[in-house]
């Protein structure tokens, strides 16, 4: 089984990297971009029997810092 974890900064937390990307897109002439948020995608290869709850625990303990980030788990 595989799991894909998406980690994004929470709404309201400044994302200076996303802002820099937005500016760069604007400089390239993409004038319809109103906002950019940058995050991480973490792919996990899991052994038989692993559950979504296990992945959630991994997110809480290490993969995301829930003070500033939110996560979504996708089992694939």
């Amino acid at each position: 089984m595989k799991a894909r974890v998406h980690v994004m900064l929470k709404n309201g937390v400044l994302d200076p990297q996303g802002e820099a990307v937005r500016h760069a897109l604007g400089a390239l002439g993409f004038d319809k971009v109103e906002g950019v948020r940058q995050g991480k995608v973490i792919d996990l290869e899991l052994a038989e029997g692993a559950t979504e709850a296990d992945v959630a625990e991994m997110c809480e303990k290490l993969l995301a810092n829930t003070v500033i980030e939110r996560y979504e788990i996708e089992l694939v």
């Binding site: 400044l14 200076p16 990297q17 810092n65």
Partner: protein, 222 residues
């Protein structure tokens, strides 16, 4: 009077921190990140600056899960003293010992220069050598020093007089200009600036000396 300085793969201010402690009169033990216990009788733990574990995942995230950090958490839960500077501050927030998190600098650039800090409270073992309102000059060297915490946490830090230092001219976008904070029992200090790099005339400044001397004054056995 004993200090332990934690060494992670990628720490680069560990020896500076050890020298600053030694000059203030501490006996210093260096402890390796794989050690599961602190040496017996340690009065204060120093978590140094650097790039522990290459800053992979998030600054301080992997260090916070290391065996020695479990021992550091237990030490602080027993009421032990600790100081984390720069990456050490990031690690202390990742362990949950201190609230909030350090984000990428608002200007996106790594900043390495000496800045002015205002001492916000003299009511701690770390800051009692200064007067509240003093302005001191301490170097910063970080890419992720933008302190963030939710509004309730910032208010609580203010109400409980736990903001130790603020930037006079905010270099990195930190909420409330915060440069350093104290734990609820005032025995843990986390700060992005490097007092250990302003601890000898050869550093170009000695405004950090008072911090280590003040600690020595508190932790000397009566």
């Amino acid at each position: 009077m004993r200090a332990a300085v934690v060494v992670f793969p990628g720490s680069n201010c560990d020896r500076d921190l050890a020298v600053a402690f030694e000059q203030a009169g501490f006996q210093v033990d260096m402890v390796w990140h794989k050690d599961a216990q602190l040496p017996q009788g340690v009065d204060i733990v120093g978590v140094p600056g650097g790039f522990s574990y290459g800053d992979y995942l998030r600054c301080g995230a992997i260090a916070a899960q290391s065996p020695i950090c479990k021992a550091v958490v237990e030490h602080t839960e027993r009421g032990g003293y600790a100081i984390g500077t720069c990456n050490g501050f990031q690690i202390l927030t990742e362990t949950g010992i201190l609230p909030g998190a350090l984000l990428r600098n608002a200007g996106l650039k790594y900043i390495c220069r000496t800045v002015e800090l205002k001492v916000e409270t003299a009511d701690s073992a770390f800051t009692r050598g200064y007067d509240s309102g003093d302005v001191i000059r301490i170097p910063i060297a970080h890419h992720d020093g933008n302190y963030f915490a939710d509004d309730d946490t910032i208010s609580r830090l203010r109400d409980e007089d736990r903001i130790a230092f603020t930037y006079v001219d905010n270099p990195n976008g930190s909420s409330g200009n915060i440069a350093g904070i104290l734990s609820h029992n005032r025995r843990v200090l986390g700060m992005m600036p490097h007092p250990e790099r302003a601890a000898d005339p050869a550093h170009g400044g000695t405004d950090g000396v008072a911090l280590f001397r003040a600690l020595a004054g508190v932790l000397t056995p009566a």
